[in-house]
């Protein structure tokens, strides 16, 4: 891509990533949550991939690592839900209202879902890009 796109990307990609983390962490206080926050995080990586090409992104997060992270998020979420099913009644975090680290297990579920959704969508996009590259060769 051109110099303008690269400069603007360098300025904005960190802000998009921070906004995604904010949407994930505020999911139990204001509108948001794990699903849209995870996709915003994935969009920041896709933004980087579209501007700088696939080599700059594959150094940070390649396909095997992405699949591992998605599986880890799914396993953590399953563990939290199964823990509730097995009868763990005591909440994992405090029950204070409007605090950042509060609301029982909702925040932990949000973080696990965001890791799974973000890396999952990014890995799908990466697989499509790599498949197209293979056809051109």
């Amino acid at each position: 891509m051109s110099l303008i796109v690269k400069t603007i990307t360098r300025l904005t990609v960190g802000l998009i990533l921070i906004y995604g983390i904010y949407v994930v962490l505020q999911g139990h206080i204001s509108p948001g949550g794990g699903f849209p926050g995870g996709i915003i995080i994935a969009l920041s990586f896709i933004h980087l991939l579209l501007a700088f090409g696939k080599d700059a992104v594959l150094r940070k997060l390649n396909q095997a690592k992405g699949v591992f992270l998605a599986s880890l998020g799914a396993a953590v979420f399953l563990g939290i839900v199964l823990g509730g099913f097995m009868g763990r009644q005591k909440p994992l975090l405090s029950q204070d209202h409007f605090a950042l680290f509060s609301a029982g297990r909702i925040l932990l579920c949000d973080i696990a879902i965001s890791v799974m959704v973000g890396t999952g969508f990014f890995v799908i996009f990466l697989a499509l890009v790599l498949l197209n590259q293979g056809e051109e060769d």
Binding site: L43, I124, F125
Partner: protein, 177 residues
């Protein structure tokens, strides 16, 4: 009033998306439909859904443009258009009739019949500690629903990765040579 305008806009944009000859303009019209849907969710006071719809729409548009950028599909316009048109209009009439009969049975907006949801609304914040009532219901009272969604989504990721992997293709071409 605003919701009717947005619905009209979405219907016009989807007609453009169906009837357009160019794939890129079709994708753009489809993204306009998604934007209208997001605005509609905002007007109906569902900001959680509006954020999710907007973000997923952006990702889908990027993937669709990336997939359809140098490709042109052949259009089939001839064929049994009379039978298809009659069947489609019959189905639409049937669907509208039953939808009208079903919509008259629904309770009024904001007055639910079930007492369970009233319990969630009044005591949700005290019981879960979450001030966002939607998150309190989806991740605490109805957490197994979200577990099912996550299972479906994870199966989707694994399925896509299995179908479009590169290693199998290279192996096949080596075998043919």
């Amino acid at each position: 009033m605003e919701i009717h305008l947005i619905l009209l806009f979405m219907i016009c944009a989807s007609i453009v998306a169906v009837e357009s000859r160019d794939l890129i303009s079709s994708v753009i019209a489809l993204s306009a439909v998604g934007l209208g849907l997001s605005l509609g969710f905002l007007i109906l006071k569902a900001p959680n859904l509006a954020i999710t719809q907007l973000v997923v729409e952006i990702l889908c548009v990027i993937i669709l443009i990336r997939a359809t950028i140098n490709k042109d599909l052949p259009l089939v316009t001839d064929g049994r258009w009379l039978f298809n048109t009659i069947a489609t209009y019959l189905f639409i009439l049937c669907f509208l009739f039953f939808a009208y009969r079903a919509l008259k049975e629904l309770p009024n907006f904001g007055a639910p019949l079930m007492r369970v949801s009233q319990e969630f609304i009044t005591n949700g914040m005290q019981k879960t500690g979450s001030s966002n009532i939607v998150t309190a219901i989806t991740l605490n009272f109805r957490s197994y629903d979200v577990l099912g969604e996550a299972a479906v989504f994870f199966a989707g990721i694994i399925g896509v990765l299995v179908i479009i992997r590169k290693t199998g293709k290279i192996h096949n071409s080596e075998n043919e040579e």
